[in-house]
């Protein structure tokens, strides 16, 4: 080997090593690595049954079991465009580099997945590979679903195939170069898809293992609540620390006492997941509202408790931009407390005060109480602006309570003013939203 060749070879070797190291550093730990205990294959785990359906459905038909699991995996919210038939796809995902559309996963042979064999379906859900061999974009959370057992994935398939086939072709994606190169997802998947089924941690309780399976393999909490790394994959070094997803802030759900769930009681967490509301913590809106309506509210109570047990174990991650404590109740009189934003106050008086009250404690329903919610205590006011724009609706056993959408009634300037007033009056620190910020928030959620 000539001296020149040797140098080139060394440079190449160093580059490959550096790239490999870079990949490992960017990828970071897996979603369950924090638990740290010894892991065993499911077949060798005897302490409990973390996978499948709850006990009451053990004897149910394959389709019924699949229905429970499909709801637990929340397939419907992404695979249904509002107003269209369930699971017929077409929902737009607005990304910084273009728009992705969810696919039709009904059993229609031309436009849906009617021709999928069991293996085709497993390939898509666990490996991110379409029937024609093309790679899925990770908007489809197959890096989470990959932890599902084959049995559970195929039960979901049986359920989907039991529903009416809908003929509906999703619009073509409008991604820009290089993101429109699907083949690049081969490399992405090789790095970021753990491509392994769930392995119980024997140092943890059976309840924890069930919760881990539900939260990681099915409910895919991290897809919204974990920040992303340079490769747009989940950065589990900051697991559940919160992130902005689809224009909404998914708050910190780590066990951090100040800004996570560390100070929520079990009853609070159970209530929030199953009803979308916990007294003093506010109500689920936006994407979490949908997750409650279509997924968590359908969970068996023991499964909700398992998720709570699991969430408790996730190491604390502080959110430094949030206050250490949420603001107390505001004064009952409009004259006291924050009054600097005259325009915001005017909008609040005419559109908001009749339901939310001047103190933030709603005279109508605890579900409309602003005091104590992260939304009004977030100095970025992201979710306050989004709820004002698109409204919110909570379904409960006692019926629905809703807030109308004000996005068409008020200008960006007025929405910014009222969001700034609301965060200053009911939160710890007023936001500084401008009309431009509100326009951008609208853009991220507009259908």
């Amino acid at each position: 080997m000539s001296g020149k060749m040797r140098i080139l070879t060394s440079v190449a070797a160093i580059a490959i090593l550096a790239a490999g190291l870079g990949v490992v550093i960017i990828r970071g730990p897996g979603p369950l690595d924090f638990a740290g205990g010894p892991k065993v294959a499911l077949a060798d785990y005897r302490a409990g049954k973390p996978t499948g359906v709850p006990a009451k459905l053990e004897k149910a038909s394959l389709v019924e079991r699949g229905e429970y699991l499909a709801k637990a995996a929340d397939c419907m919210v992404c695979h249904t465009k509002p107003g269209e038939k369930d699971y017929s796809g077409g929902l737009a995902f607005k990304l910084p580099f273009g728009t992705l559309y969810s696919t039709n996963i009904t059993a229609d042979k031309d436009t849906g997945i009617g021709n999928y064999t069991d293996q085709d379906f497993l390939n898509a859900v666990q490996h991110g590979k379409r029937r024609d061999g093309a790679r899925l974009y990770p908007a489809m959370p197959y890096t989470s679903y990959t932890f599902m057992t084959d049995d559970d994935v195929l039960a979901v398939k049986a359920y989907l195939f039991s529903l009416p086939a809908v003929r509906a072709r999703a619009p073509d994606n409008t991604l820009s170069f290089p993101f429109n190169q699907r083949w690049a997802m081969i490399a992405w998947s090789a790095v970021f898809n753990p491509d392994t089924r769930y392995m119980p941690d024997t140092s943890k309780s059976p309840e924890w293992n069930r919760g881990a399976y539900l939260a990681e393999a099915l409910a895919h909490c991290g897809e919204c609540h974990t920040p992303r790394n340079l490769g747009f994959a989940l950065d589990n070094r900051r697991k559940f620390a919160g992130a902005i997803t689809a224009g909404w802030r998914a708050f910190n759900i780590s066990s951090d006492k100040a800004t996570g769930l560390g100070n929520w009681s079990d009853a609070d967490l159970i209530s929030y997941l199953s009803l979308g509301h916990a007294p003093g913590h506010g109500s689920a809106s936006g994407p979490m509202g949908e997750a409650v309506d279509h997924s968590f509210s359908q969970f068996a109570p023991e499964d909700i408790s398992s998720i709570v047990a699991y969430l408790r174990s996730v190491p604390p991650q502080p959110s430094p931009d949030l206050p250490a404590t949420t603001a107390p109740v505001a004064p009952a009189s409009h004259k006291e407390g924050f009054t600097a934003d005259a325009r915001g106050k005017k909008v609040f008086a005419s559109a908001c005060a009749s339901c939310h009250g001047w103190s933030g404690e709603s005279p109508v329903s605890p579900m409309a109480t602003l005091t104590g919610t992260w939304a009004v205590n977030d100095p970025a006011a992201t979710n306050v602006a989004q709820i004002v724009i698109s409204g919110t609706k909570r379904h409960t056993p006692d019926g629905a309570l809703s807030m109308p959408a004000f996005g068409n009634a008020y200008t960006d300037d007025e929405i910014a003013a009222v969001a700034n007033y609301v965060t200053a009056r009911f939160g710890t620190k007023g936001s500084k939203l401008t009309a431009k910020d509100v326009a951008e928030l609208r853009e991220q959620t507009a259908e």
């Binding site: 009189s333 409009h334 004259k335 005017k346 008086a349 005419s350 559109a351 005060a353 009749s354 339901c355 009250g357 001047w358 005279p363 109508v364 329903s365 006692d398 019926g399 629905a400 309570l401 809703s402 109308p404 009634a409």
Partner: protein, 155 residues
């Protein structure tokens, strides 16, 4: 799903069958026949449907009836028997506030709730309490005047 519901409305106990998510306004108007409370926008933005729940002014068009179980509801039919309501109604007549009248049940309910909690409101109190009640005839000037008269006990 219909459920037997019992509410205390204007001091009387009323029982009826209604779905739990039915807005209180529909129960009042369509089931109980109390049509003094008006339907305006249906999204809590005009104030025509204002009633009192535990003495506070709320919009009945967005309030599911299940949310007011065990709470006290007062409507325009009965507000004249409360001290603040009586003063407001008297002042309203003296000042000839009403033009077409459609919003006025809600205006009177909002004004009565204001006077019950703030017996001597200034202009900013009136603005803060009444901003959510709109009037297409533009009687706002007379509404403000009447509220001040009611507060002073003048007429």
């Amino acid at each position: 799903m219909h459920m037997a519901t019992t509410l205390t409305i204007n001091g009387e106990t009323k029982s009826f069958d209604a779905p739990p998510e039915m807005p209180l306004l529909w129960v009042l108007r369509d089931i109980l026949g109390m049509t003094g409370t008006k339907f305006g926008c249906g999204i809590a933005q005009c104030g025509a449907c204002t009633v009192h729940v535990d003495g506070k002014a709320v919009r009945s068009c967005v309030l599911p009836v299940s949310a007011v179980a065990n709470r006290t509801v007062t409507t325009i039919e009965h507000v004249g028997s409360t001290p603040a309501g009586a003063k407001v109604q008297k002042a309203w007549l003296e000042a000839e506030v009403i033009q077409c009248g459609y919003c006025q049940s809600g205006q009177i309910m909002a004004a009565a709730a204001l006077l019950a909690s703030t017996p001597n409101p200034d202009d900013s109190d009136i603005d803060a309490a009444m901003a959510g009640n709109i009037c297409r005839c533009g009687t706002y000037v007379r509404i403000r005047e009447a509220i001040k008269h009611a507060a002073n006990g003048q007429s």
